[in-house]
């Protein structure tokens, strides 16, 4: 019995009125863990009860501690009838099981009901006493730290990177069990929430065990997803990168400006990392979910590798042996591995997996970036000798090394146009580079980056089973090809030569497939300048036609010129002559992809447009005309806005600490049966553009600013309602993004004004207002890598509020004078909790990671109209989810969530029955941050008896 869980119920506030007669509530609380339940006394006739209970103690195995959530139920006591439930709070106690994370959970939690939403708040105190257990056969993995962040967490050092860990658990979905026919929606929702919570806990424990087996102590880049397979069950799966992390003691934290676009500020850091060793086991998959690496880790990048497979779902017969699902993923991973090998790479970085399900058809996708990791960091014999080692002998300049090709020049896996690197002139580089990772910190960039999206719709016939799966797998290669072409054209149009953070999502619906590719385009100084786009008619016959082409060509050229200006791309012209020969325009791809349907057949498409001049866009049919039109109709961003889907915006270095995370959801309904591909494409593009326009408008008060980590998700939900005649199609765009305000010194766009001052010593507090003056070069010069940033703080104040765990309640008796409560206003102000999908908060330093946040909520309503329709319902639900995440973080003693993401947002409605249901899954890392200006000050003491919160300003 290796652990004791203790919980204390302190008080409640803002409870709903449960007794109409008295307008009050007789509330009590049930505290449940595993099969043990405790109850508090009834606190009669109050909306702000003070239970102040004893400590409820649960003596449990640590295995249970990892799997089970603490379940707190608030009820209204009723003498004559059954007690009414007010709502529940699930508390994941995992953060308390790790000595380096939170020590206690203490604070106000929203009381949540799946039908009514948030109904008041409850103040709870939770602690865990763990006993050491040296049993080697143990099933628990307490103490393994989990991070959603896809880079080495800011206050840790990677001593050893062990590699890929994955696990998957399956179960029956309670929503589809027979019992669901007789139980209430509330009971069904709660069963589902609880099951997923249990499964997540189990999954995390199992992954932890694998990590311990490998000798690691942490999982970085932990990505958990669940697949609602309907009738056939519920799958929760996770992947991550096992590491051994050493905590950096606060005094020696070497790098304070932990932007990933800032280069290592001192040698101390690179030394630290050079001791890091990577152990890639041959039999395992050499995959890394990281997207951001310690300097020197990444040697070469080959390009994007991806694999998709279409499967037919069947009922999972034995939940304890999820063999089929495991086998499916195994198959896909093998493909990825072989693709990487074909690119001359021994590892895959920035790796991720996803699914799209429509009825019984499921598309499994995996993608990553083939890469060479530094062999000096590897254990001997751990890697296949994938690349020829001679390349590593001559140390290439760090700023361009990753661009150099990892594959053999004379035995290329695909036709590629190689040139000598534009920076070092010694190694070959490709003309275009696509990757799924973040822009490496050391990369030299010309101008600024921008968000590039390719959007595509393809209709398909409605079909069942095998026929449907075949139809889908036949469509997939064409979709990938077209998305790729679109990306390439848009990249050229912006005069850029590389994509980072590429994420291609293909969603399947009943009668269409949607493809959405997002990436951040950038001009890498090491790569050759992209050529223009040339329009050519296939059969130039009459004058009109030629004229039409000429106008088109002019428009394209004008757009390119405009974009060069806009993104400030002015590469030095002279360099081209040094190469000796002009670079022929040639489009070529590094995208490997295969599609298979329950077979091992490997299909590799050569995505290059043959040996011909591939930059030429031939407009021989209406399709091509449409393509060009859509190419040119991408609305430009309003002035003052920048956007990207990576962690940092390439080419912009001066950030303020202003931050606004947001989520936007849209559902469109298409009402016409005669859908054509072209019409759909147009609509889909319009829809994405409109959403972006809306975002720009909403956030206009924050300019100059940058939308970072913009993450689009599309879905084509199946239609539950069959309406006469019209085909109804829903399309959900979920977009969890961050908005970081940046302060561009001066209003101009030219490089001189974007210069920033340098800090030479990274250990010291950055003196923000008196920059250590040493003028830096223009941002694209190599010296840049030695710069650290000077942050602009519009304000430096830090508000620290300490509120008592027991806040004075609202005056119950009406006649009490307000004066008496003046000294203790009812409830101290709520601490500000920041949320961001980035792994850092600009202008701040993360001093502690408190544990992973992984929450799943269901909300249902049977009074949709009364709650303001679908928009009102979802608006409220998302706000509630944010509130619950913030409350959990605050209770752990944190003041921010980093690497936050909304993994899932499934929305179903039935307007005729006035009903709707929504499922949301969110995750992130709870942290404590301090402003950089405050770093000399002692971090807030979370172990004191108060819920202290280091609230930063809540202003945006």
């Amino acid at each position: 019995m290796p652990g004791k869980l203790k919980a204390k119920i302190v008080a409640g506030r803002h409870l709903p009125v449960m007794d109409r007669a008295s307008d009050l509530t007789d509330a009590f609380v049930e505290v449940k863990f595993g099969n043990t339940t405790f109850k508090t006394d009834v606190f009669p006739k109050s909306l702000n009860p003070q239970w102040n209970s004893e400590w409820f103690k649960f003596e449990v195995d640590d295995e249970d501690l990892q799997d089970e959530p603490l379940q707190i139920t608030v009820l209204d006591h009723d003498t004559y009838s059954a007690n009414d439930a007010i709502g529940k709070v699930y508390i994941d106690i995992d953060p308390l099981l790790c000595s380096e994370a939170a020590t206690r959970i203490c604070g106000w939690f929203p009381i949540y009901d799946t039908i009514h939403g948030i109904r008041g708040e409850i103040n709870v105190l939770v602690k865990v006493d763990l006993f050491n257990d040296l049993n080697s056969f143990r099933q628990s993995s307490c103490g393994v730290k989990f991070f959603c962040t896809t880079s080495i967490p800011r206050c840790y050092r990677a001593a050893l990177v062990h590699g890929f860990v994955e696990e998957l658990v399956v179960n029956e979905d309670p929503e589809y069990q027979w019992i669901d026919r007789i139980r209430t929606p509330r009971a069904s929702n709660e069963a589902r929430q609880r099951l997923i919570s249990l499964m997540s806990g189990e999954l995390q424990r199992k992954i932890g065990l694998k990590v311990l087996e490998m000798g690691g102590n942490a999982v970085v880049g932990y990505l958990q997803c669940f697949d609602l397979e309907g009738e056939s069950g519920l799958v929760v799966r996770a992947i991550g990168t096992a590491c051994t992390l050493d905590k950096l003691t606060p005094g020696t934290a070497p790098n304070t400006n932990t932007h990933s676009n800032t280069a290592p500020a001192s040698n101390a850091l690179s030394k630290d990392y050079s001791r890091a060793r990577v152990c890639v086991r041959v039999r395992e998959f050499p995959f890394f979910t990281l997207t951001c690496f310690p300097p020197g880790f990444l040697v070469h990048v080959g390009g994007v590798v991806s694999a998709r497979s279409v499967k037919l779902l069947d009922r999972i017969h034995n939940p304890d042996e999820p063999e089929t699902r495991d086998a499916w993923w195994e198959e896909i991973r093998q493909e990825i591995k072989s693709h990487a090998k074909a690119l001359g790479c021994h590892a895959v970085v920035g790796y991720s997996e996803s699914t799209s399900i429509c009825e019984e058809v499921c598309i499994l996708s995996a993608s990553g970036t083939a890469a060479m990791l530094n062999p000096r960091f590897m254990r001997e014999g751990c890697l296949d000798a994938g690349g020829s080692d001679h390349r590593f002998e001559d140390a290439s300049p760090p700023s361009c090394g990753f661009c150099h090709i990892p594959y053999d020049e004379f035995n290329m896996p695909f036709p590629a146009q190689l040139t000598y690197c534009y920076r070092c002139r010694r190694q070959k580089v490709p003309d275009v580079l696509f990757t799924t990772i973040d822009l490496p910190a050391e990369a030299a960039v010309t101008g600024k980056g921008c968000l590039i999206q390719a959007r595509l719709c393809r209709t398909k016939k409605k079909a069942q089973g095998e026929v449907n799966a075949t139809a889908i797998s036949n469509l997939l290669p064409f979709m990938e090809y077209e998305l790729h072409t679109q990306l390439m054209n848009k990249l050229k149009l912006r005069s850029m030569n590389a994509l980072f953070g590429l994420r291609i999502q293909i969603s399947v619906g009943e009668n269409m497939l949607l493809g959405l590719a997002s990436a951040t385009g950038v001009y890498l100084s090491a790569l050759p300048a992209p050529g223009g786009i040339q329009v050519a008619g296939k059969t130039p016959s009459d004058l009109n036609y030629d004229q039409h082409i000429a106008t088109m060509q002019k428009r394209i050229n004008d757009t390119i010129t405009k974009n060069k200006e806009l993104y400030n791309i002015h590469p030095p012209e002279s360099t081209e002559e040094l190469v000796g020969s002009p670079i022929p325009d040639r489009q070529r791809s590094r995208l490997f992809r295969s599609t298979s349907e329950s077979s091992d057949e490997l299909l590799e498409l050569d995505l290059s447009h043959g040996k011909k001049d591939a930059f030429v866009l031939e407009i021989d049919d209406t399709d091509a005309v449409e393509d060009i039109q859509s190419l040119l109709t991408d609305a430009p961003m309003p002035a003052g806005f920048y956007s990207c889907n990576t962690e940092v915006m390439p080419g912009i270095y001066n950030w303020t600490s202003g931050l606004q995370m947001f989520t936007s959801v849209r559902v469109y309904r298409l009402s016409n049966a005669n859908l054509t591909n072209q019409g759909l494409n147009k609509i889909f593009t319009e829809l994405c553009e409109n959403l972006l326009k809306s975002l720009y408008f909403k956030l206009r008060s924050m300019i100059p600013c940058c939308l970072c980590h913009v993450n689009f998700t599309v879905a084509v939900p199946e239609e539950e309602l069959i309406q006469m005649g019209a085909v109804r199609l829903n399309c959900v765009c979920v977009c969890g993004c961050v908005f970081v305000c940046l302060f561009v010194s001066g209003s101009g766009e030219n490089e001189d004004q974007l210069q920033f001052s340098m800090e030479l010593c990274a250990d010291s507090t950055p003196s923000n207002n008196q920059p250590t003056s040493k003028p830096s070069g223009t941002p694209h010069q190599p010296e840049m890598s030695e710069n650290s940033l000077n942050f602009n703080f519009p304000e430096l104040s830090l508000r620290t509020t300490a509120c008592k765990p027991r806040c004075s309640p609202l005056p119950e008796g009406r006649s009490r004078s307000l004066r008496s409560t003046r000294s203790m206003p009812c409830g101290a102000p709520v601490a500000v909790v920041k949320m961001t999908p980035l792994s850092f908060l600009p202008g701040t330093r993360i001093v502690k990671y408190l544990g992973i946040i992984n929450m799943f909520f269901i909300r249902e309503t049977t009074s949709l109209r009364e709650e303001g329709g679908v928009s009102g319902f979802l608006h409220c639900f998302i706000a509630e989810v944010f509130a619950m995440v913030r409350a959990h973080v605050a209770a752990l003693g944190g003041n921010a969530v980093v690497s936050y993401s909304m993994k899932e947002c499934v929305f179903m409605e039935n307007p005729n029955k006035n009903q709707a249901q929504c499922l949301i899954n969110v995750s992130g890392d709870a942290v404590i941050f301090v402003r950089e200006s405050e770093q000399e000050a002692t971090p807030p003491l979370m172990s004191s008896g108060q819920i202290s919160s280091t609230g930063a300003d809540g202003t945006t």
Partner: protein
């Protein structure tokens, strides 16, 4: 091919609110009207947005405000609720604007009972004032809510309102006036009083609260600032001697006339009218024990004093001069023993009349 937006939401971790849209919402504009006005305002050119974008934004904001409204009913909750993360200065703005009211509207209901009946008549008020019915209802409900809460609290009225509703000092004072008027049911709707603004009345209410209520004497009793002090009103009957005793009246008149001679252009009119004016003022004091006469306090002031003076074309300066000397001279009257009472009465009367006398 048609495409319709079925669902469209935007939620920020820090709740985004546009003050301009908030005002439209408070003013009871429909979403479409608000969009129209915003378009005319030129936000569109500013960010190259379309009407659709504007509509979506307006809807989002309206929903946010609707969800916040419940909290605004007890503003203290806004600070410790968990649903919306709103910076403190924004919270203050939300509250202050929510409780702000239209001068024209409040003039219509000032002094009326804050009952269901009055609420039913709000559509007439709306038609008359041009304030939307929705906005009228919000303002009326605010009055009623504040009234209900402070009704049963001890301590100073303004301070109670300020703390319970987290309002600015100025707005709290205005609410105190509204509560005070509603409680004492002062008549403000008569035609003769139409020329007075809410601010005139609010000032007078402030004077009455400060000097004539129970709270002016004891600051820890219930309703101390809402009810006039009974004993004081009773005592006021003693002032009757100033007009019933002929000697005293003459003496008072000559003292005032001596002081004012040569200092005002309306001296003759004043001299002829003195006894009438003095009788008017003292009679008001004497009758204040009747609730009916308390209600008519302002109409009496206008009829008995302000109107006669206005027809004689007194300036505000004349008025001030007269009231100062009229008050002070009473101290020199040897047989008049109620100096303290007289000052307490005349201090308020003087400042009220000066506020209510528009040239």
């Amino acid at each position: 091919m048609r495409m319709s937006v079925e669902l469209d939401v935007f939620v920020g971790n820090t709740t985004i609110m546009d003050e301009e849209v908030y005002q439209f919402w408070l003013d009871g504009y429909t979403v479409n009207d608000a969009v129209k006005v915003r378009m005319e305002g030129g936000v569109l050119e500013e960010c190259e947005a379309s009407a659709e974008v504007l509509h979506s934004d307006t809807m989002d904001q309206y929903r946010t405000f609707q969800m916040c409204e419940r909290l605004l009913h007890s503003p203290a909750k806004l600070a410790n609720q968990l649903l919306f993360q709103i910076p403190p200065h924004r919270q203050a703005m939300l509250i202050e604007r929510y409780y702000a009211f239209d001068g024209v509207f409040v003039r219509e209901v000032l002094g009326k009972k804050l009952s269901k009946g009055t609420k039913k008549d709000l559509d007439d008020v709306s038609a008359k004032t041009g304030v939307t019915l929705k906005s009228c209802r919000r303002q009326f409900d605010n009055f009623k809510r504040v009234f209900k809460v402070v009704e049963e609290l001890k301590g100073p009225l303004v301070e109670n309102i300020r703390q319970h509703f987290l309002l600015s000092d100025q707005l709290a004072r205005n609410y105190a006036a509204i509560v005070f008027f509603a409680n004492n049911r002062f008549e403000t709707g008569k035609k003769k009083l139409h020329y007075l603004t809410f601010q005139d009345f609010a000032f007078c209410a402030g004077q009455l609260i400060s000097y004539w209520t129970v709270g002016a004497v004891d600051n820890m009793v219930e309703d101390m600032d809402v009810d006039l002090e009974k004993q004081f009103l009773q005592d006021l009957k003693e002032l009757k001697i100033l007009i019933t005793d002929k000697d005293l009246l003459d003496q008072h008149k000559s003292l005032v006339c001596t002081a004012l001679r040569g200092k005002t252009k309306v001296f003759n009119e004043m001299e002829t009218n003195f006894k009438n004016l003095s009788r008017g003022l003292v009679n008001i004091a004497v009758k204040l024990t009747n609730t009916k006469d308390v209600r008519d306090f302002f109409i009496d002031l206008v009829e008995k004093f302000i109107e006669p003076c206005r027809s004689d074309k007194w300036t505000a300066g004349d008025m001030r001069l007269f009231l100062t000397h009229y008050t002070n001279s009473a101290h020199i009257l040897d047989t008049f023993k109620h100096q303290v009472l007289w000052d307490r009465y005349m201090g308020v009367i003087k400042s009220c009349i000066l506020k209510m006398y528009h040239d």
